[in-house]
């Protein structure tokens, strides 16, 4: 089985992705979970996310995702303030399964972190692919 791992993002070992949003200007990133993660979880039925204005901290838990068979914590790839929450997921959590890198996104966060930097704990697409191989 092969999984989508878009090259334009950075990854956490705990299977979250993040990438910079050009459309919203500098400093805003999107966060979600990977194709591999949604496949491992199976049918997603519930997500618990922070609200707009709350801050998240890199490496710390920011939410919870539940499938029919499992409960899993969500970890923040960056520090920052939540500026948008994908509230569509509250009624249609299956979007995380259907389109994990697109419509299944979870948060938009304003951050000082430069995702291009090599000093981050974040994995490249290649490194993440090795991890899940």
């Amino acid at each position: 089985m092969s999984f989508d791992i878009p090259a334009d993002r950075r990854y956490l070992e705990s299977h979250e992705w993040t990438h910079a949003l050009e459309s919203t200007g500098d400093g805003v990133v999107r966060i979600g979970i990977t194709d591999f993660a949604q496949d491992e979880l199976g049918d997603v039925v519930f997500v618990e996310l922070p609200e707009e204005g709350e801050t998240i901290t890199a490496g710390e838990q920011f939410g919870v995702i539940e499938s029919i068979k499992a409960v899993s914590d969500l970890y923040a790839p960056v520090d920052g303030e939540v500026v948008a929450v994908n509230e569509t997921l509250f009624d249609s959590p299956e979007l995380v399964n259907d389109d994990p890198f697109g419509e299944g996104w979870m948060l938009e966060v304003e951050t000082d972190t430069d995702l291009e930097s090599d000093d981050l704990e974040l994995l490249s697409a290649e490194e993440y692919e090795e991890q899940i191989a």
Partner: protein, 365 residues
């Protein structure tokens, strides 16, 4: 201890199944998606590999007495080709396991039974039967045949049509809980009109070596234990080890809502204790509930009343694929057991509003 593997472990793996440990067995939990598999069984037909279930064979002049004295239902009422759901209780009337007892055709002119304990309980139940046979000086042969049979469950509104096409003998005329030997692709199988999904369907006991031939004869959605759990929960069927447990959550059949398996006019281990429970009434009982707030109830979560006092525990919970709502089972004191009662389920420290509902949650056969 290494996991036991069902005969078709390799075939399921090739089909892309994910596996989970259940009762000491490495079983397929999901073939495609729990939601798809669940829907196939509710709307059409699906097949489950439940070869982790035990099979204990009992025959001999005293087989009926032995079965009757170790299970709570009325075994003497079973004619050949009948089956019944029953509990196996201890002296205090606490459930050790639940089971289905089949009366097979007589062997050597002696009454013969096969009962199906839950996964991982077969050795203990075999020992229990042997010990009591010896203690009571009864004449019966007890054989643990768990490794001799695969077990498949064909379930769904279209199960009878598909079985009619695939099985070499008539099968659609079997009534609920009736069973007989049939041949499938030339293989003799024990077929019963039973199941654990709330839908019509059959369960087949298949010789271990012929498992692949029989499994492959049914062209329909393969389903894993994940969908089996969501289906049985919607149907309000209890699961051993989750909704009762001899050690960690000891319950009588009356508390667990399966008092119909207890026939007090028969003699069995636990009967006298259960008669007292029935006279005095239970203090707690298993109820169904639905979460009104967002969240998913899970085994072990606290149930509180509206003042926040813990009054019970969730034993099973899921997001119901059929209802699109979070549902669960749990034990609460009788004063909170009426349908419509408002309670709270504590999800990660947050109280979520819940309402007691009648079970089953859906219409069942």
């Amino acid at each position: 201890m290494p996991l036991q593997t069902p005969p078709l472990r390799g075939l399921h793996d090739e089909r892309g199944a994910k596996f989970t440990e259940f009762g000491g067995w490495d079983m397929p939990v999901e073939f495609d998606s729990i939601r798809e598999e669940h829907a196939a069984v509710r709307d059409d037909v699906g097949i489950f590999d439940v070869s982790h279930m035990g099979e204990i064979h009992v025959t001999g002049p005293d087989a009926t007495r032995l079965m009757d004295r170790l299970t709570s239902n009325d075994v003497a009422a079973l004619e050949v080709g009948d089956s019944q759901y029953a509990t196996i209780t201890d002296e205090e009337g606490i459930i050790i396991d639940d089971t289905v007892v089949y009366r097979l055709p007589d062997e050597d002119d002696e009454p013969t039974y096969l009962f199906v304990p839950n996964a991982g309980n077969d050795e203990a139940m075999h020992q229990r039967w042997v010990d009591h046979r010896n203690e009571w000086d009864l004449e019966a042969t007890i054989d643990n045949q768990t490794d001799e049979y695969a077990m498949f469950a064909l379930q769904g509104p279209e199960a009878a049509d598909l079985a009619g096409d695939v099985v070499d003998d008539p099968i659609g005329d079997l009534g609920r809980f009736e069973a007989r030997y049939v041949t499938i692709e030339g293989i003799e199988c024990w077929a019963a009109r039973t199941g654990y999904t709330g839908e019509d369907g059959f369960e087949f006991l298949v010789p271990w070596m012929d498992a692949e031939t029989v499994w492959s004869a049914f062209d329909c959605q393969p389903c894993g234990l994940g969908a089996r759990d969501t289906l049985r929960l919607e149907a309000g069927y209890v699961l051993a080890g989750e909704d009762f447990d001899h050690e960690s959550d000891p319950r009588t059949p009356y508390e667990a809502g399966i008092g119909f398996t207890v026939k007090l006019d028969t003699e069995f281990v636990g009967r006298d204790a259960l008669e007292r429970v029935k006279e005095e009434g239970v203090e707690e009982k298993l109820v169904g509930f639905r979460l009104i707030d967002r969240g998913v109830p899970r085994h072990g979560y606290d149930i509180t009343n509206t003042e926040g006092r813990v009054v019970g525990t969730v034993t099973s919970g899921t997001m119901s694929p059929t209802l699109g709502a979070p549902i669960g089972l749990g034990y609460v004191p009788l004063e909170y057991a009426e349908p419509g009662t408002t309670l709270r389920v504590i999800v990660r420290g947050q109280p979520k509003k819940a309402r007691v509902e009648t079970i089953p949650f859906i219409e069942t056969v």
